[in-house]
């Protein structure tokens, strides 16, 4: 073997032995998008500063006697530009000046702000809807309407839609968030999520931000020892009187957690034919009987496999929670109507300030009203007909498809500021559609 071949073989052998953690493309995209946004903001700040300096300079020439005023303009400009250049995460933390108590808005907003479609949009085959890019281009994104805007989740990062761009929401590291409630704005941000790193002992909690302070309320675990929950989707609403969480979760037996509750510190374990095969840190390989360790309910889970379920959790008192199983395996949307948190069901659609009976608003010929939203300019409806999803509003009726012409299977209407938009479910995931005009 020549030296070339020897080196080649050696490098291949050595290279193969390098232990690599799995690469996650979404994590790469998040890092890239965050840097891009930071750079854009920096450039915006610098551009703004330059622009104001130019205007200030011109004013100084035109109005030579107004030095005092132009100095003030520069000062303000510098302050604003400086604010613009702050890190994204830091940006949303300036809440110390927030005043007054939060109150829920239960009437659809009539704000005149509109979603800018100047950037990040792709034309749809079914104009007038256009697809808005998510906060991390190309990454799998889940959307949820919240207050008068929409939040997007990419992996463990959360973003909120401003008038024309996405901005990362500042959330404490201590919580792995599953749902965000922006119903009364970011200064009173409310989040639900997991607290703690250990899958066996982590707790579901709701955290409420007031000013700079976060207050936490634990949601009691209602599962018997050994069963663990993985929440795939959730909605949260918190009012002054109530906390409501709707979620879809997968319940499964975790043999390590089961052993942990029995005081066994195993490093790995698996269940097979009613037995738990475990590797104990001290005793080595050990076999336990599932029937002896687990309750009948847990043993039944182990036999039947994981179960998906939908749940509504409510509390008007920190220590008292009610749990209602739901039949639908789609996440149940929540809205605040007349000060009360209401959950959508097969009979009614719910948005903030409105609860509509599906049968009463469904268009003729439609088989199912998926969603309806009343706005000051009319009613927007999303419904199924001929196996397709359609939208009907001010601009007439259109079949809803994604930009890549994927069929839409489900959807949700909502407002981003005052504009109606659609979160459409396709086989490839969710897309956000806004009116293209």
């Amino acid at each position: 073997m020549s030296l070339d071949d020897e080196v080649r073989k050696h490098l291949r052998d050595t290279g193969e032995q390098v232990a690599l953690t799995p690469g996650i493309v979404d994590a790469v995209r998040i890092r890239a998008a965050t840097r891009l946004r930071r750079r854009r903001r920096l450039l915006t700040g610098v551009g703004f500063l330059a622009g104001v300096a130019l205007v200030g300079g011109s004013l100084a020439v035109v109005l030579p006697g107004s030095n005092e005023n132009s100095g003030k303009v520069d000062l303000v400009a510098q302050q604003e530009a400086s604010d613009e250049t702050q890190d994204l995460v830091v940006e949303s933390s300036d809440v110390s000046e927030a005043s007054g108590n939060p109150s829920y808005e239960t009437i659809p907003a009539t704000a005149e702000e509109s979603v800018s479609q100047s950037d990040n949009v792709r034309s749809l085959s079914t104009a007038p809807w256009v697809e808005l890019e998510g906060p991390v281009v190309g990454a799998t994104t889940e959307y949820a309407y919240s207050g008068d805007t929409i939040v997007a989740r990419v992996a463990s990062e959360w973003f909120v839609r401003d008038e024309s761009s996405w901005r990362q929401i500042e959330i404490p590291d201590s919580i792995d968030v599953i749902a965000v409630d922006l119903g009364v704005g970011e200064e009173y941000l409310r989040v639900a999520g997991w607290v703690g790193d250990d899958r066996c002992s982590r707790e579901l909690a709701i955290k409420v931000k007031t000013g700079l302070e976060w207050q936490s309320v634990a949601v009691p675990n209602q599962l018997p020892p050994g069963l663990v929950s993985s929440i795939t989707s959730a909605r949260l609403r918190v009012t002054d009187h109530e906390r409501v969480l709707s979620l879809i979760e997968q319940i499964d037996v975790d043999p390590l957690c089961l052993l942990q509750t029995m005081g066994v510190d195993a490093v790995e374990a698996e269940i097979e034919d009613g037995l738990i095969y475990a590797t104990d840190r001290k005793a080595g390989r050990v076999i336990y009987s599932l029937d002896q360790l687990a309750s009948p309910e847990v043993a039944a889970f182990a036999e039947s496999g994981p179960v998906m379920r939908s749940l509504l959790l409510r509390s008007t008192d920190e220590n008292k929670w009610s749990s209602t199983p739901l039949t639908d395996l789609k996440v149940t949307e929540l809205g605040v109507v007349d000060g009360l948190v209401m959950a959508e069901d097969s009979e009614y659609t719910v948005h903030d300030g409105q609860r509509l009976k599906r049968d009463e608003v469904i268009p003729p010929g439609a088989t199912l009203l998926i969603d309806a939203l009343v706005t000051p300019s009319g009613t927007s409806m999303l419904y199924a007909r001929d196996g397709k999803v359609w939208h009907k509003g001010n601009l007439g009726e259109q079949e809803i498809k994604s930009v890549s012409d994927q069929s839409v299977t489900w959807g949700r209407l909502g407002r981003i500021f005052a504009e109606v938009s659609i979160v459409a479910e396709t086989q490839q995931g969710q897309v956000l559609l806004v009116a293209g005009g």
């Binding site: 490098l11 052998d13 390098v18």
Partner: protein, 192 residues
């Protein structure tokens, strides 16, 4: 897989990314190349953790400029070079701390019995610049021209570095078989 077939695969991949364009293709590029480039960087830097970190950093930069990077003849080469440059900068920045802690070189790669220990020791004596060229040529399977483009060197420089590196490796292997003391590994990445 031979170098030729590997090269052919790579060329067709680059054409595919370039022709398809768009951001979605970054996912395919990442999936197909991330591990290979992370391994190449680990070998060049002789530090798996730093190699993986450098690869991640380079892929983030590739993602930011993907529409442009996708049109390059050898996007992998660009990522490899960006990763090496980032690692070199990092090593320069942290040199003082590392000198205190003396942690840069990990010998864990040489501990496995299936690896040729003599050759691994000989590889460790190469300068970082020479090792980078050797890894690009023999691990990534790039031609002299591709290696030159990827590393921003002249083809003549690549040839001479390769030639000197192989000569040095042959000498080291000869010395180790005759029982001579193996020189200390080169650890200084400040060299360009």
């Amino acid at each position: 897989m031979t170098n030729d077939s590997r090269r052919q695969d790579r060329i067709s991949s680059a054409e595919r990314w370039s022709q398809a364009g768009g951001n979605g293709d970054f996912d395919s590029f990442y999936a197909e190349n991330r591990d290979q480039i992370a391994r190449a960087l680990s070998l060049s830097l002789r530090n798996p953790d730093l190699g993986a970190e450098a690869a991640d950093e380079a892929f983030v930069r590739a993602c930011q400029r993907w529409p442009e990077v996708a049109t390059f003849a050898n996007p992998q080469g660009w990522v490899y070079r960006v990763g090496m440059n980032w690692a070199r900068s990092w090593l320069r920045r942290t040199r003082r701390e590392r000198e205190k802690r003396a942690l840069i070189v990990k010998e864990e790669m040489a501990e496995d019995p299936i690896v040729d220990v003599d050759l691994e020791r000989a590889m460790a004596t190469l300068t970082p610049g020479h090792r980078t060229v050797v890894v690009a040529r023999f691990f990534m399977g790039w031609s002299i021209q591709e290696t030159a483009e990827a590393l921003g060197l002249r083809p003549g420089t690549v040839k001479s570095r390769l030639s000197r590196a192989l000569k040095q490796l042959a000498g080291e292997l000869e010395d180790s078989s005759s029982g001579m003391e193996v020189p200390k590994p080169k650890e200084d990445f400040d060299e360009s």
